[in-house]
Subunit: 132 residues, 2 copies
DNA sequence: TTATGTGCAAAGCGTTTGCACTTTA
DNA sequence: TAAAGTGCAAACGCTTTGCACATAA
């Protein structure tokens, strides 16, 4: 049985506060100190682990960036990919027929069952393209 | 100017020995000790860094797996994605029209320029599917 | 011979853990 | 009050770095 503690609730709120985008542990620690919450590093890590195990948040790593990032899991009733801008770090959702087509193709023709939840396409977003 | 040393050559050979698949630092260290090569950890890490900077190999992280993995960069004359099996770790190449279609779609309709080199789709390969 | 690479050991840094204490249900 | 969570500090594991020595060009 899992207890609902103040720390757990506050950590989840912090992550929710970042909406759809990912948060690093570093950011969470700085959020914690800014808001003067009493949450130790150990509790933060332990809570992130259990939230991940429970499927409430998910963990991933950005190439070139040290340390894990987390974000809320979404209700998935259909496949979609994520786009992450290599320049600004922004995350976008890619949720269209072409994704379904590719997934279907890979499953049928390549006999590989893709876990779309984990698919991240890196690149450069519109804004960052026009900046240069 | 970059020197061509015995260690550098041996490290590159080890990576080449793994062909298209990725190698962890841990694996390289065990290769080194098996073959009784005189290469220190520090040199390994420094060499991996410089090979990465030079674009000869590339580094990436697998979710859930601690530590970096490396693999040879390929000559890319066309876009392709990688498939990595979450169960056995095997890497496959996905190089077909559907990838081109999706890339074109994302670029035109979503104004996002995908770096296909970094795209990894995780899932379960044919063999591992039939094992269960 | 001088710029670059190497080895060693120590330090760095994100993360985990042991243990005593606190809180939840 | 029993099971689960917390805080602290120490430990861990991967990676980086300072420094003296070795090697390539």
């Amino acid at each position: 049985m899992r207890y609902s503690t103040k720390q757990r609730q506050e950590i989840l709120d912090l992550i929710k506060g970042h909406g759809e985008s990912h948060v690093s542990v570093e950011t969470l620690l700085s959020d914690i100190s800014k808001k003067q919450l009493n949450i130790s590093r150990a509790t933060l890590y332990r809570t992130l682990d259990s939230l991940t195990e429970e499927g409430i948040i998910k963990r991933f790593f950005l190439d070139g960036k040290l340390g894990a990032c987390y974000q809320l899991c979404e209700e998935e009733d259909h496949n979609h990919f994520h786009l992450i801008c290599e320049s600004c770090g922004k995350m976008l959702h890619l949720d269209c027929d072409e994704v379904e087509t590719l997934m279907g193709h890979i499953e049928k023709e390549h006999n590989f069952k893709v876990n779309s939840d984990r698919v991240v396409l890196y690149g450069i977003c519109e804004e960052c393209q026009s900046k240069k």
